[in-house]
Symmetry: D2
Amino acid sequence: MAGNSFGQLFKITTFGESHGEAIGVIIDGCPSQLPIDLDFIQAELDKRKPGQSKITTQRKESDTVKILSGVFEGKTTGTPIAMIIPNEDQRSKDYSHNTDVFRPSHADYTYHTKYGIRDHRGGGRSSARETAARVAAGAVAKLMLKAYGIEVFAHVSSVGKIDAPNVDITNADAFIEQREQNIVRCVDPATAEEMISFIDGVRKQGDTVGGKVSCYITNCPVGLGEPVFDKLHADLGKAMLSINAVHGFEYGSGFSGAEMLGSEHNDRFIHDAEGNVKTLTNFSGGIQGGISNGMPIEFKVAFKPVATIMQNQPTINAAGEAAEIQGKGRHDPCVVPRAVPIVEAMAALVIADHFLRNKTVIL
Amino acid sequence: MAGNSFGQLFKITTFGESHGEAIGVIIDGCPSQLPIDLDFIQAELDKRKPGQSKITTQRKESDTVKILSGVFEGKTTGTPIAMIIPNEDQRSKDYSHNTDVFRPSHADYTYHTKYGIRDHRGGGRSSARETAARVAAGAVAKLMLKAYGIEVFAHVSSVGKIDAPNVDITNADAFIEQREQNIVRCVDPATAEEMISFIDGVRKQGDTVGGKVSCYITNCPVGLGEPVFDKLHADLGKAMLSINAVHGFEYGSGFSGAEMLGSEHNDRFIHDAEGNVKTLTNFSGGIQGGISNGMPIEFKVAFKPVATIMQNQPTINAAGEAAEIQGKGRHDPCVVPRAVPIVEAMAALVIADHFLRNKTVIL
Amino acid sequence: MAGNSFGQLFKITTFGESHGEAIGVIIDGCPSQLPIDLDFIQAELDKRKPGQSKITTQRKESDTVKILSGVFEGKTTGTPIAMIIPNEDQRSKDYSHNTDVFRPSHADYTYHTKYGIRDHRGGGRSSARETAARVAAGAVAKLMLKAYGIEVFAHVSSVGKIDAPNVDITNADAFIEQREQNIVRCVDPATAEEMISFIDGVRKQGDTVGGKVSCYITNCPVGLGEPVFDKLHADLGKAMLSINAVHGFEYGSGFSGAEMLGSEHNDRFIHDAEGNVKTLTNFSGGIQGGISNGMPIEFKVAFKPVATIMQNQPTINAAGEAAEIQGKGRHDPCVVPRAVPIVEAMAALVIADHFLRNKTVIL
Amino acid sequence: MAGNSFGQLFKITTFGESHGEAIGVIIDGCPSQLPIDLDFIQAELDKRKPGQSKITTQRKESDTVKILSGVFEGKTTGTPIAMIIPNEDQRSKDYSHNTDVFRPSHADYTYHTKYGIRDHRGGGRSSARETAARVAAGAVAKLMLKAYGIEVFAHVSSVGKIDAPNVDITNADAFIEQREQNIVRCVDPATAEEMISFIDGVRKQGDTVGGKVSCYITNCPVGLGEPVFDKLHADLGKAMLSINAVHGFEYGSGFSGAEMLGSEHNDRFIHDAEGNVKTLTNFSGGIQGGISNGMPIEFKVAFKPVATIMQNQPTINAAGEAAEIQGKGRHDPCVVPRAVPIVEAMAALVIADHFLRNKTVIL
C-alpha cells in the first residue's frame, strides 16, 4: 500500500536509503527448488553499479549482495528470499551543502512536503540506489524464466537525438554479448561510438542528457497478462515508469501507431513452417488484448536527463528563501547505460509474475 | 488477481461482457457522505456511448446506469457502490460470421488460447464496452475530487498526423465547454475541423486511424503518489495502458525529454506572488520523485487505429486453417473522441485512490 | 481494503444492503471451463433463505439468484462472475420504529459513528442478508472443489447447552442427506429433536439462543495453506469470524487442546493399507504448520444468540437520550440452522482459494 | 500471496529460517515522524527470547535487533522499516538426528510435500523463531498506538486445567508490572505459583502442556474494523491463529456465548458520567458488527502443547519407512509464557492497521 512492493505472485518488497546501513529486497512467492546462481545475481548488479566507465558516475561501490534466507543448499525453498546490499561509500559530506535546499527536478521538495521529514543525505529513499535491490530480485526472476526458456534483454537505443538502427533480436545471448562490448550498452557498434563521444562531451560541460532503452522478451508463451486492468503491457508500463527518471513508455507501434491506419497496423495471422501461430508484422508488440501472443514482446522506455548537473542553479530552501544549489558530487552524465539492467530486471519481474498468475487459470 | 480490479483504497472491480446481460462495476472504498449526482454520472456515460456522431460507430445504445447499493438518500454510505448498465443492442448476428476465425490484432486468439473458451459474440470481455463501467466509476471519483477542488480534463490532441497546438488549461470548465463544441473533442476549433474531415475520409474508405489524448489534472495537492513502485505517474501510466488500443504513455517532457540536456530540463523552483512553491517550467509534468508537486499534472496517451476495419482481411481460424475475416459490423473509424471520457475516468480513479492513500501517511 | 472482498486468487466481492435494490457478489479468479449448475447454486441459497420452518424467521423471500456475466453456454469463461439477488420483501415499515435508536448488540451505533450516515431500514450492510451473496459464491467454489473430489459439509453440533455426539464423516453425501431430514440441521436425529423443541420454547418466550456449527472438509490434498500468516486454519478462522454473530473458532483439539499434554496430543504418523501417510489421531484437525496434511479438516464455530429479541429493551438514541427498543419484526430464535450453508460456503471459498494458491508453488 | 505478509496499511513482511543467517521484518506503511525507542523494541524481544527461566527452553539467544532503514535521527521517515535479528545459537547438530524423519504434529511432512524441499535444520521457516520478527514489528505498532493512548496487554490465563480468576484491566501499566513479577506471566500471583509448579513437573517428565492467553485492548476509539470480511475480530482471529500452536480463538462471550439467551447476552447501551456511550455488560468484547464500540476489546487464545517432547516417539521417514524420533534438543515445556509478547504484538499490528484504515473513511 505504501508503494514499496511490486508483483502479485512473484512479489518483491524493497527497502533502504542511499545513505543508511543497507538496501535490500524480499522476494515472496518464488517457486521452490529453483537453483540459485549467486554469481549471476552479482554479475547483474555489476552492470548497474556506479564507477564502471568514464561515462558513468565516478562513485565506487562494490554493491555486494548477500542472501539472508529462502535458499538452502543452493536451491529456493519456497520461503521468502531476503537479499541485502550494504551501503559502502556513503560519502554524505558530498551532500551536506544541500541539506537545506530543494534541488531542482529532484524529489526533495515533494518528500519534504509529503512526509514532513527527509533523509537529506543524498536522495534517501528516492535515490536511484534503490534500483540495485530491483536488479538483485530481477536476477532471480531471470533465473526462473530461463528455466522455462524465456529471455529478457535490452540495450540503449537512443542517447539524446542519436538513435540506433533496428537490431537483430533472434539470439538473446549474442545480443547481450555484443552489447557488452561497449560502455554505452548499445548493440550497434557504430552508434555506440557516436553515443559515447556525445556523452563524454556533455560530461565535460557538467551537463547531462537523456536517452531511451529498448527491451525485448522472446520465447514467451501465449497467455500471459490478465484482462482488463492487469494487461501485460500495462504492468510492463507501470514497472518501467516506476524506474527513476523514466518519462515515457511505448510498446509495439507505440506513439507512431497513433499516426497509422488500421489497414496498415493490423498484424496478419499465419502459420509458420512448424505449424505455430505467428503474425506477419508485429505492430502489436507481442501483446493482443493485454495477453502475450507468442511473438517477441517489444517496448521502449524514455529517460529524462539526470537532474544533478555540475553547474550551479538557483532554487529555494525549506524556509522558502532563494538559494543556490552547487554543482558538486559524482553523478552520471547519462543514465541509460546503467539503466539497461534495471529495465531488464523490472521486465523479468513482470513476466515472472504473470507466468505464475497464468498457471492458475485453466481448470 | 485476475485483473478485474483497479486501485487500492478507492478500488473498483468491473464485470460483464459485450453481449451478456449487463456490464457493471463495484466501487469499494468511496468515503461516506459524498453526495451522488446520478445525472452527472449519466452525462459522463453519454460522452462515451456509441452512436454520437458520424465519426463514431453507428451502434445505438443508451448505456443507462442504475445504482444497486451504497447510496442512501442521495449520499454514499461507505458501503460498496454497485452500478450496472444493461446491454441493449446485442445484435450478435453481426458477429456470427466471425465465430470461428481470429480477427487480426484483436484479442480473439489470445483469449482462446489462455482460457480455452471464448464468448465469440463480439469481443466478450475484451470489448471496449467494458470501459463504460470505468466511466461510471470514474464519474464518482470525479465527484469526490471536485469536493476537494481537483479537476481532471482531457481532449483529443492528435488524429493521425494532425496535431493540435498547445491549449489553455487554466480553466477546466471553459476547457470542457470548448471541447464539447465539436464532435472530435479537440479544444482547438480549427484543428477539430481538420480532424473531423480526415476521420470522415478514413471512414468512407472503410479504414480506421489512431490518435492521441492529452489529459490535465489541476489543483492537485502536493504529496500524492507513493514511492517507489506506486509513483503517481506509474499508476497513471498503468491506468492508461489498461484502456483498449492504448500503445503509449508519456508525462511531462515525455519522449522528447529523452533528447534534452539536464540544464534545459530542470524545472527551477520559485515562490509565486501568494508565496506558493511553483516551478518556472513544467517538464516534470507536475510530478517529482513520483509525487505530485502542485503544478498541473500533464500526460499524453497514444491510441492505435481500431482493428476492426470494413475491409476483408485474410486470417486463420481456430482449427489453424486459412480463413477470411469479413468487413461487416458497426465500428468506430477513430476511437479517440469517445476515449476522452475514458481517459478522464481512469485519471480520476488514480487521483482519488492516491488522495485517500496520502491521507494515511503523516502521524 | 474497505473489507468487502475475500480471497486472493478465488476472490469475491459482495455488495448490497438489506433494504436496497439487490445484493450480489462478483467472483474474480474462478478458473475457466467450469460447468455451472444454476440449480445447485439456488438450492444452496434455499438452505439459507428465511421462512424455512417454525424455528427460523417468518420473513418470506425467494432469494432468486441471477448470473449477469462470466458464464457462456453453461461454463465459466475465466472472466468475473457477477450474481445478483434482488431484494423482495423489504417491509421496511417493520423497522421504522427503530430509526433513531441504537439496538443493543447490533451494529447501529458503530456504523453510525464510523460512517456518519446509516441506512436505518434494518441492518443495511450489517444485516445477515449479506451472507446470501456469500452462499451463492460459495456454491460456485463447491462446484470447483467437487471437480477435484473435495467435499465440504457442516451441521449444527450444539444449540444452547445441548450438544450432539460425534458423528460419522466418512460419507459427505450421506451426512448431508441425514442432516436435511430435520429443520435444525443436526445429523443426529435424537439431538435434533431435542434442539428443535428447545428453540421452539425460546421462540415462544420472544427470546433467542446461540449454538455451534461443526464443519468438515474431506479428501483435501496435502499442501493447502501458506505459511506463515495465511495458514489454512488462520484463513478458515477469519472466514468464520467474518460471519455475523460468530464469537469463536477452534480447529482440531481446539480449546480443549490447551488442557492436554504433548504426549497425548501428538498425532502419530503411519502408512495406511494403500501406502498413504495418515495420522492415528487427528488432534491437528487435518492441518500441521498451517498446511493441510491429508486428514479430514475439522473445525467448530460458536454463534452468539441473535440480538433482536421480541422483548422491549432500554437503550439510547442518536441524540444520546434514553429510549426503548420495541420487540417487533420477524427474526430467528436461533441462527445456527440457517448458518450451516453459510459456514460451508465460507469454508469452500477458503479451500478453493488455497487450492489455486497452492498450484503456483512448485517449479 | 505466499503468506509472509500481514496487514493492509500497516503492513509487515517477515523472512528468515531458524537456522539461516538472520530473520527479519519489513514494516511498510508506518506513518512518518514517529519517534522510535530501540530499547523498547529490544525489551519486547527479550520477553519472547529463549532461556528466560526454568520453565522455558534452555537455548540461549540474545535476539538482538538492528534497524537497517526507515528511521532517520530517531524518527520514522515514512519509508520501509527493515529490522533484522541475526541467528546466533544455530546448534544444528541438535537436529541432525531428525533430518530424515517427520516429527509428529510438526510441519515437517506438510512442508516436505508442499515444497519438495525442506530446511531440516530445525523447523526452518515453520519454527516459532519467526515470531521474533513479529514481536519487533509489533513493538513499533505499540509505539504508534501509545502515541494515540491505545494500550494492548495480555497475560497467561490458563495452563493445562489451571485457570486464573478474572483480573483488573483498568490500568495497563499496573497490569504489565504485576504480570512481569513471575516467570509464567500470569497477573494473579497465586495462580502463577500453581502454574509454575505444574509446568515444572511436566518438564521433568519430558512432556509439554498447553495453555491460554487472554488479551485486552483499552482506550481504542470507536470505528475500527471494516465490514463485512475484515471485521476487527476476524482480523484479530486470523492474527492469533497464525501464531504457531494456536488452536482456538474467542472474543467477548466466546464459546460460552453460544450457550446463552439473547436476553442475557445483549449489552445495554448507557451514557456514563462523562456523557460517553458505554455498555453495561461487555459480552460483545468491545466489538459490534465487526467495528470497535469503545469498550475494552477482550479475547482469548488457546495454545496446544508443544509438539517436541523429550520422549522417543514412533513415526515414519521421507522414504515412508517406520522410524523413531528421539527426544533431544532444548524446547519449551509450555509455550504460553513466551507467547504473551507474541499475542500482544499481533494484536497491536491488527489495531495499528485498522487505525490507519479507519482514517481514510469519512469525507
